[in-house]
Assembly symmetry: C2
Homo-oligomer: 268 residues x 2
């Protein structure tokens, strides 16, 4: 099974994909848009995308793409984000002068840099890509910060594990496939909808779930792409594809337009 | 008046601060936390922070800090994000081999790099910081991508203006001050609140506004910092500090706890 991800082999998306689809072959894409293009063209069977991080918030672009494209969510997965210092075999901590990684990862490892004031933090495109860079160029005074998979993929060595400041760092991933596919027995539903900009419109929209005792576990308004300050709502519901849920969505369609079911899937 | 921002002089926050408080002196901070620390300590009079970008979504860390700290929103401002290619005076486009900027800015200028395949995109910490780097090191084969203010601050020259792919790129900024300060005549209110994780809880919470014809212009659930997958809601309301609004908030406090008013301010 071919699974597309955004980012390099060895990245956190790579790790999530390997855990969600053991034995899959990974197709690494430079951009998120390319991940969705490949899925819709059918050149991959599935894709794994990060949707929300407990510290950094939602990945807005992925919500926008879920709404715009003909794909559906098949599963969710929560990955604990652990940052590691990874260098070439033989390189010792005291020889390191520069550490490359994505700015967000560097920022999540401030305590490490405070404890090692002689090491310079160097921004790079990608966490796993920074390890690839260090290994491919045979740098012996540099390291990268990335997940442990990056060490395995590029044959680096972990010099320090778990150097992130905040251990409560999780990312939620979706496994997505082309077309509209409801997962049998799925108990979680993600939807997107737009309501008119009048008082009480969102309240009315939510009434279709509250009046049926369907719980919301997440809601978020996002400016519509290309129409700044017009909002679309994303919501996660604790319901599957049963009669009550279908009635609720029909009821919602009287109030909101468009309504799109992004997926009915098993929760993590 | 001293205004703290996160990032370098010449950044988009710098531009927003200069427009919101003409003639202010800017205190540039490396981290957002430092901006809030300075404000609470009283070493600056105010701060200007980005809260939401029309393409990239909310700045999650700033919502978390608004909730945690003793500050309040005084005003909002919408800045159109225009990216410019900025180099040292005398440097010509055809001499440029590397372009530095923040990865998000580089990503928003893909068409430029596609049109100039010989130019390498180099990730950097900060948009304005990339221009500072190019100017301070006298690089004559490199440029930075940043707002026009960066050219003015570091005495660079704009070689190409408006090179961002998507022109509908806006960022919403807040001017914040220490303590609880309601802006007289303010017609917009931002709040944060937590509800129990039971069906219909959010619906009940929103009823306090719907039943009083108070419009919501934004709502977002965020995992609570340090407690992944427990959610706090952020909402923007079209109401000021009048009797009806105060009743609505008292009503909300019966259902949600805690409820924090992040600010009552004039809308952009």
């Amino acid at each position: 099974m071919k699974v597309a991800i955004q980012g390099e082999a060895g990245s956190f998306s790579y790790e999530a994909a390997k855990r969600m689809v053991p034995g899959c072959s990974i197709v690494a894409c430079a951009r998120s848009r390319e991940v969705f293009d490949r899925l819709e063209r059918g050149s991959v069977n599935a894709a794994v995308i990060p949707i929300e991080n407990s510290l950094a918030g939602s990945v807005a672009e992925h919500f926008d793409l879920l709404l715009a494209r003909n794909v559906s969510i098949q599963r969710e997965y929560r990955l604990r984000i652990v940052h590691n210092l990874i260098a070439a075999p033989g390189v010792k901590m005291k020889g390191i002068r520069r550490v490359y990684s994505h700015p967000v990862a560097l920022d999540q490892c401030r305590d490490f840099f405070r404890a090692h004031p002689k090491i310079e933090a160097m921004p790079f495109y990608d966490t796993a890509g920074s390890v690839k860079h260090v290994m491919e160029n045979g740098l012996n005074d540099a390291a990268g910060i990335a997940g442990r998979q990056a060490a395995a993929v590029y044959k680096g060595r972990i010099l320090a594990a778990g150097i992130e400041d905040d251990k409560k760092n999780f990312t939620r991933f979706f496994l997505i496939r082309k077309g509209r596919r409801i997962v049998p027995g799925g108990k979680k539903t993600s939807i997107a909808f737009r309501v008119k900009n009048v008082p009480g419109a969102l309240f009315k929209a939510l009434s279709v779930f509250a009046l049926r005792d369907i719980s919301l576990t997440k809601i978020e308004s996002r400016p519509m792409r290309g129409r700044p300050w017009e909002y679309v709502f994303y919501a996660d519901l604790l319901c599957g594809d049963d009669k009550v849920a279908r009635n609720a969505l029909r009821h919602l369609a009287e109030i909101a337009s468009p309504v799109k079911v992004l997926g009915v899937y098993r929760s993590a």
